[in-house]
C-alpha cells in the first residue's frame, strides 16, 4: 500500500519534471516570434524562462530533500549491508 502511494507520488513528480524540462528547452506556450513586451527589462519569454527554471529548481529541491522519495543518509547503512552481502555471496560462488 505504502509502496503504491510512493510510486504514484514518484510518477507525479516525474511528470512535473518532464513538463518543466520541455518548457526549459523550448518556449512552447509562452514565447512568440517578433516583438514582445518587456518584464523587468527582459523580453517576457526570457523572464518566464528564468522563472520556470527557478520553479523547477525549487521542485527538485523539494523532491530531493523534503519528500520520502529520495535517498537519505539514514538509509545508507541498510542499503550498503544488503549490497555487500550480495557481492560477498557472488564472490563465494565464483570461487567455488
Amino acid at each position: 500500500m505504502a509502496s503504491n502511494v510512493k510510486k504514484k507520488k514518484n510518477g507525479l513528480f516525474l511528470i512535473v519534471f518532464l513538463v518543466l524540462t520541455v518548457l526549459c528547452w523550448c518556449p512552447i506556450g509562452y514565447g512568440s516570434y517578433g516583438e514582445v513586451g518587456l518584464i523587468v527589462g527582459m523580453p517576457s519569454w526570457a523572464f518566464i524562462l528564468l522563472l520556470i527554471g527557478t520553479v523547477l529548481f525549487v521542485i527538485e529541491w523539494v523532491y530531493l530533500f523534503w519528500t520520502d522519495l529520495a535517498l537519505y543518509d539514514e538509509d545508507l547503512e541498510e542499503i550498503m549491508a544488503a549490497l555487500h552481502a550480495t557481492i560477498s555471496q557472488e564472490t563465494i560462488q565464483e570461487e567455488n
Partner: protein, 497 residues
C-alpha cells in the same frame, strides 16, 4: 604584467593546494587517489562539479553569444541546465550506491559490470576520443587568452606549456582530492568575478533597466525569437541547442567521479541540485553582460565579438580588477581541463590496464594514472601547437559523442532486458552518426536544425537513432551470462525501495 602576475599566482596557489593534499597523505592508495576516499563534503563537491564543467565558453563564449544573438542565448547554458538536478540524480543514484558497495573508481565500472569488458573498453576509448578535441580547444583558448592578457609577453606557444604544466603537476600530485579542492576554489573565484563584472557593467548606464532600454532602442532584434527571417532562435534551433547541452552533460566522466567521491547522500543530492541552480545565475550574468556590451563597446563583428567580456571589463573596472575578471574566465578553462584529464587518466588506468592486468597493484595504478595525465596533456599540447589546427573544431561533437552513452547507462540501471550487443551497437552507431554529420555538413549540421533531419540538429538525430538502436538491439538479442549475473546487484530489491 598585472594579468601575468595574477595567472601565475593562480597556478602557484593551485599547485600548493594539491601539494597539501599530497602531504596530508590523501593519495596513498588507489581509493584515495582516484575518488578521494569517498570523503568530499558538499561544498567542495558543488563547486568542483561546477568548475569541472564550466569552461571558458561559459564566460567569454556566452558573453559573445549575448552580444551577437541576444536573449535567445539564455537557452544555451542557463535554465536549460536546471533539469540536470533530477536527470543526474536518477541516472547516478545507483552509480553512487553501487560504486560505494563495489569500490568503483572509474566511469567504465558500471558498464563493465553490467555488459562486460568489451563494452567497458569501447566506452573508455569513445570518451577519450571525444575529450581530446575538447581539451585541445580549451588549451588553445588558454594560449590565446594568455597571449592577449600579457599583451604578447607570453606567446601563444609558451602559454601552451606554461599553464598545462601546472595543471599536470597538481593533478599528478593531489589526485581527486587535490583536483576537487583546486576546482572548488577556482569555481568560487570565477563565480564571484562574474558578479563583480555584472554589477559594474550595469552601473555604467545607471542600472539594469536603463541599460536594457538603451540596448532595446538600438538593437530590438536581440530581444526577439525567430529573427533574421525566422532563422535565429527559431523553436527548433532553441530546442536543439538547449536539449543537446543538457543531455551531453549527463554522460561526461565528471558526474561519475564526483558521485564516487561523495561522502554522503546529502552531498550527492546537493551537488546535483546546485549545478543547475548556480548555472541559472552564474551563466545568465555573462550573457546579460554581453547584451549590455552593445551599448558600451558597440560595433564588434564576428570573432571580434568574442573579446567582449574582456573589453567591457576594461571599460567598466579599474585595470587590476578587470584583470581579475578576465582571470575568472581563465580559471574556468583550467578547471575544465582538470576534470576531463583526470577523468580520462582514471578510466585508462582502472578500466583498461587493471582489466587487462588484474594483478596491477594499488601504487602501480596510481603511477600509471600519473603517467596518463602527463601523456594526455602532452598529446593535447602537441595537437594544439598549430593555432589553426582544425581538430579544435571537432570539439563541437564532443557533447554529442558522449551523450550517446546515455541509453546504455539508463539500461544498465533501469532495464533488465538491456543487452551488451544493444549497448555496444547504440554507442557505435551514435558516434558514427555524430562524426558523419560533422564531416558531411560541418558545425551547422551538428548544431542547427536540418530539413533533411525533420528539423532536428545532427546531435539530436544521432541521439534518437542511438536510442532506437539500443532498444531494437537489446530486444533482438538475448542477455548473456554477464548481463544475467549483473541483475542480482543492479536490480537488488533494496535499490527500488
Amino acid at each position: 604584467m598585472v594579468a601575468v602576475t595574477i595567472i601565475t599566482g593562480i597556478c602557484l596557489v593551485s599547485v600548493y593546494i594539491s601539494y597539501v593534499a599530497f602531504r596530508k597523505g590523501f593519495t596513498k592508495n588507489a581509493d584515495d587517489y582516484f575518488v578521494a576516499g569517498s570523503s568530499l563534503g558538499y561544498f567542495v563537491l558543488i563547486f568542483s562539479l561546477l568548475a569541472s564543467f564550466l569552461s571558458a565558453f561559459s564566460m567569454f563564449g556566452m558573453a559573445s553569444f549575448g552580444y551577437r544573438l541576444g536573449y535567445g542565448s539564455l537557452y544555451v547554458l542557463t535554465a536549460n541546465l536546471v533539469p540536470l538536478g533530477f536527470l543526474w540524480y536518477f541516472m547516478h543514484k545507483k552509480t553512487f550506491l553501487l560504486g560505494r558497495a563495489g569500490k568503483w573508481m572509474s566511469m567504465g565500472a558500471p558498464f563493465g559490470e553490467r555488459y562486460g569488458t568489451p563494452m567497458k573498453i569501447i566506452l573508455v576509448l569513445v570518451v577519450l576520443a571525444a575529450s581530446i578535441p575538447y581539451l585541445v580547444a580549451q588549451i588553445q583558448g588558454i594560449g590565446v587568452m594568455l597571449e592577449a592578457m600579457s599583451e604578447g609577453l607570453i606567446s601563444f606557444r609558451m602559454g601552451l606549456f606554461f599553464v598545462p604544466f601546472f595543471i599536470a603537476l597538481y593533478l599528478m600530485m593531489g589526485g581527486m582530492k587535490g583536483a576537487a579542492w583546486v576546482n572548488a576554489i577556482q569555481g568560487v573565484f570565477f563565480s564571484v568575478m562574474v558578479f563583480v563584472l555584472f554589477f559594474s557593467v550595469m552601473m555604467k548606464n545607471g542600472g539594469f533597466l536603463p541599460t536594457m532600454d538603451l540596448v532595446m532602442a538600438k538593437h530590438p532584434t536581440l530581444f526577439q525569437l525567430g529573427w533574421a527571417g525566422g532563422k535565429v532562435w527559431s523553436y527548433p534551433m532553441v530546442f536543439g541547442m538547449a536539449s543537446a547541452m543538457c543531455l551531453g552533460c549527463v554522460c561526461f566522466p565528471q558526474p561519475y567521479m564526483h558521485a564516487y567521491s561523495s561522502r554522503s547522500a546529502r552531498g550527492l543530492k546537493a551537488m546535483f541540485l546546485s549545478f543547475g541552480g548556480i548555472c541559472l545565475v552564474v551563466i545568465t550574468l555573462p550573457t546579460l553582460v554581453g547584451i549590455a556590451g552593445n551599448v558600451i563597446v558597440p560595433g564588434l563583428k564576428g570573432v571580434g565579438a568574442d573579446k567582449i567580456y574582456g573589453l567591457v571589463a576594461s571599460a567598466t573596472l579599474p585595470d587590476w580588477l578587470a584583470a581579475f575578471a578576465v582571470a575568472g574566465g581563465f580559471t574556468a578553462a583550467m578547471s575544465t581541463v582538470n576534470g576531463l584529464v583526470f577523468g580520462n587518466a582514471t578510466n585508462l588506468s582502472v578500466d583498461i590496464v587493471k582489466t587487462l592486468r588484474p594483478e596491477t597493484g594499488s601504487s602501480e595504478l596510481i603511477g600509471l594514472a600519473r603517467m596518463f595525465v602527463a601523456i594526455i596533456m602532452a598529446l593535447c599540447v602537441a595537437i594544439a601547437w598549430n593555432p589553426n589546427t582544425p581538430v579544435a573544431e571537432l570539439s563541437i561533437i564532443a557533447f554529442g559523442t558522449v551523450a550517446v552513452t546515455f541509453f546504455a547507462l539508463w539500461g544498465a540501471y533501469y532495464w533488465k532486458r538491456a543487452t551488451a550487443t544493444g549497448a555496444i551497437l547504440s554507442i557505435l552507431v551514435g558516434v558514427s552518426l555524430n562524426a558523419g554529420f560533422f564531416f558531411a555538413g560541418g558545425k551547422a549540421m551538428v548544431l542547427f536544425p536540418q530539413a533533411s533531419l525533420f528539423q532536428l540538429n545532427g546531435f539530436l538525430a544521432a541521439f534518437i537513432i542511438s536510442g532506437i538502436v539500443f532498444f531494437a538491439g537489446s530486444l533482438l538479442t538475448t542477455p548473456g551470462k554477464t548481463e544475467t549475473k549483473s541483475l542480482k546487484l543492479f536490480f537488488h530489491p533494496i535499490l527500488t525501495q
